[in-house]
């Protein structure tokens, strides 16, 4: 068994207090290193799946394993090996863009010089280097999303989860972000897993694997 893959075995998940809003039932999947695109309509459970893989939610039944054979709740996995970009409100508004990156890097235990270099690199790659010392509330939506990308990648995680990352973005920003995600995976192609949950067809071109995603029969979205 490849311990670099993410595997989900017979996973059930229902949101508590929703009277049977079952999102996953007996779900099986395997995500090898590469760029994966999860496609499905809004509210079908793509984001829930990413949260389960991130360990932000716990499955009701079944088993999830992440690279290294760990469970998603493993603290070291969450802090050092996982990058997550949410749909919105990704940044801490009290500090600058660069400080957002550095805080996450420091929590992940990266040495300061390496962290500073990585922050400069990813901000440059995503085209927001000149905005490094700006506070996030002064950035546009697209710029904020790029900054969130940079923050997720600054600690060089083995697993990068992107939840509707290009929602509402123009072609240029979409291309920049998707290209950056693919290049990030290619930089360590044998171990990095990038999973993008989106219903944006523009992202198909950047994915190695496209997975259709639908809720279980009888489930209410």
């Amino acid at each position: 068994m490849n311990s670099r893959a993410i595997t989900l075995t017979d996973v059930d998940f229902t949101y508590p207090g929703t009277r049977g809003r079952t999102v996953l039932r007996g779900y099986q999947a395997r995500f090898e290193p590469g760029v994966h695109l999860l496609r499905g309509y809004s509210g079908c459970g793509k984001s829930t799946l990413l949260r389960l893989i991130a360990g932000y939610l716990a499955p009701d039944a079944g088993e999830i394993r992440v690279p290294g054979g760990r469970t998603p709740a493993d603290r070291d996995y969450q802090v050092r090996s996982l990058g997550f970009v949410f749909q919105s409100l990704n940044l801490l508004d009290l500090v600058t863009v660069r400080q957002n990156l550095e805080m996450v890097g420091r929590l992940a235990g990266l040495p300061r010089p390496e962290l500073a270099a990585a922050a400069t690199h990813w901000l440059g790659v995503l085209g927001i280097g000149p905005l490094a010392d700006e506070r996030p509330d002064r950035l546009s939506g697209g710029q904020r999303q790029r900054a969130a990308f940079a923050r997720a990648m600054v600690k060089h995680p083995d697993v990068l989860l992107l939840d509707e990352p290009t929602s509402g973005l123009d072609e240029v920003s979409t291309a920049a972000l998707a290209g950056a995600a693919r290049d990030f995976q290619r930089a360590a192609a044998d171990r990095r897993i990038v999973i993008i949950a989106a219903h944006d067809d523009r992202l198909v071109a950047y994915a190695d694997h496209v997975h259709g995603f639908a809720p279980p029969a009888g489930a209410r979205p």
Partner: protein
């Protein structure tokens, strides 16, 4: 290039920005803690003042002293004797007419006559019969020549130290004279004051007082009024009762204070936490522990509660100086402020419990 803030620095900044954004929130908590703590401090300081006053009276009376006051129609009438007392300690009797004398030093002194003729009582005072009249004084230097008198009768009375045996009388200056020195006052009604100092091996003072009261009741003297037995025993009972009330009211006040702080601070903290729940969940997703985020909220509550307590200390001190100056000295006493601060901190801790519960919500239920 900007410097990277530490996590603690970020959390501190988060707190300050939140306060600045809605100044009324921390001020309301500060005011609640301060006003409640001020009231509690003043109540507890009143108990401390009461206890200190009683302790002072007990110390003045002495824990081994009995005083028997017997009304006399004339100050020179024979004083009653209590031979049973003499078996258990030292007895000293003075006859005190209802009169005071003036001193040429400007003050006044109580007038007293020695009860016995052979001077045994005077010897107990450390004063020989040949030295009468003498002014027993707590303020004048021994040997200082003083003249004391009333109307046409003035005597030379050198000062001597007021002996501890006379402390239960509660007088600072006593002129001990011969009845012949003040013939008019010797004919006035007065009181025979019998001072008893208990031997260490004797029965307890409470037992002696009870026995003496029984003897007095069983042997009516035929006088106009029965002798009155005084000792520190009732004061000690009063002090014990006061301390019990102090403890009870202190516990009640501390409980009410802690509960109020918990409710006021807790409701505010939950509202603020919910408003910032997304950012908090984001920090958790970065690997910040729940304990760290809880500590931020607890430290905020503890800071405001203790700051309110310090303001209350100052406010209670000022209020006491204005209303009752003797009270002011008791506000900073540990027995007063310690329970108040303990209650404030207990309230702050309880106020952070709902946040701890809210922090148990999975990150994935908050972030989207």
């Amino acid at each position: 290039m900007s410097t990277s803030p530490s996590l603690l620095g970020y959390l501190l900044r988060d707190t300050l920005v939140r306060w600045r954004g809605r100044v009324s929130a921390p001020l309301a908590r500060l005011a609640a803690a301060g006003s409640l703590a001020t009231a509690a401090l003043l109540v507890l300081a009143s108990f401390a003042l009461g206890a200190a006053t009683l302790e002072e009276r007990i110390a003045q009376f002495g824990l081994d002293a009995l005083v028997v006051r017997t009304p006399l129609r004339r100050a020179t009438d024979p004083a009653p004797s209590f031979p049973a007392l003499a078996d258990h300690g030292r007895v000293l009797t003075l006859k005190v007419p209802y009169a005071t004398v003036e001193l040429d030093t400007g003050g006044r002194a109580a007038l007293a006559f020695a009860a016995d003729d052979d001077g045994r009582d005077l010897a107990a005072l450390g004063v020989g019969a040949d030295r009468l009249p003498v002014l027993l004084s707590s303020s004048l230097p021994p040997g200082m020549p003083v003249r004391a008198g009333l109307g046409p009768w003035w005597v030379a009375a050198p000062a001597a130290a007021l002996p501890p045996a006379l402390r239960p009388l509660g007088l600072d200056e006593v002129l001990v004279a011969r009845p012949g020195d003040f013939p008019l006052q010797a004919e006035l009604p007065g009181t025979a004051v019998t001072l008893f100092a208990r031997d260490p091996a004797a029965p307890s003072l409470a037992e002696l007082a009870a026995a003496l009261a029984t003897v007095i009741r069983a042997n009516p003297s035929g006088r106009d009024a029965a002798p009155v037995v005084q000792s520190a025993v009732p004061l000690l009972r009063e002090l014990t009762a006061l301390r019990a009330s102090w403890l009870g009211y202190g516990a009640l006040l501390a409980t009410v204070l802690a509960a109020t702080i918990a409710v006021v601070f807790g409701s505010g903290a939950v509202l603020e936490y919910e408003a910032a729940a997304y950012t908090t969940a984001l920090l958790r997703s970065f690997g910040v522990g729940r304990a760290t985020l809880w500590l931020q909220r607890y430290a905020e509550a503890a800071f405001l509660a203790n700051a309110g307590g310090l303001l209350a200390l100052a406010a209670a001190g000022v209020a006491a100086r204005v209303a009752l100056p003797q009270l002011a000295a008791h506000v900073p006493a540990a027995a007063v402020w310690l329970p108040v601060f303990a209650a404030l901190n207990a309230g702050a801790l309880a106020a952070a419990v709902p946040v701890a519960v809210a922090l148990r919500r999975p990150v994935g239920m908050v972030l989207h």
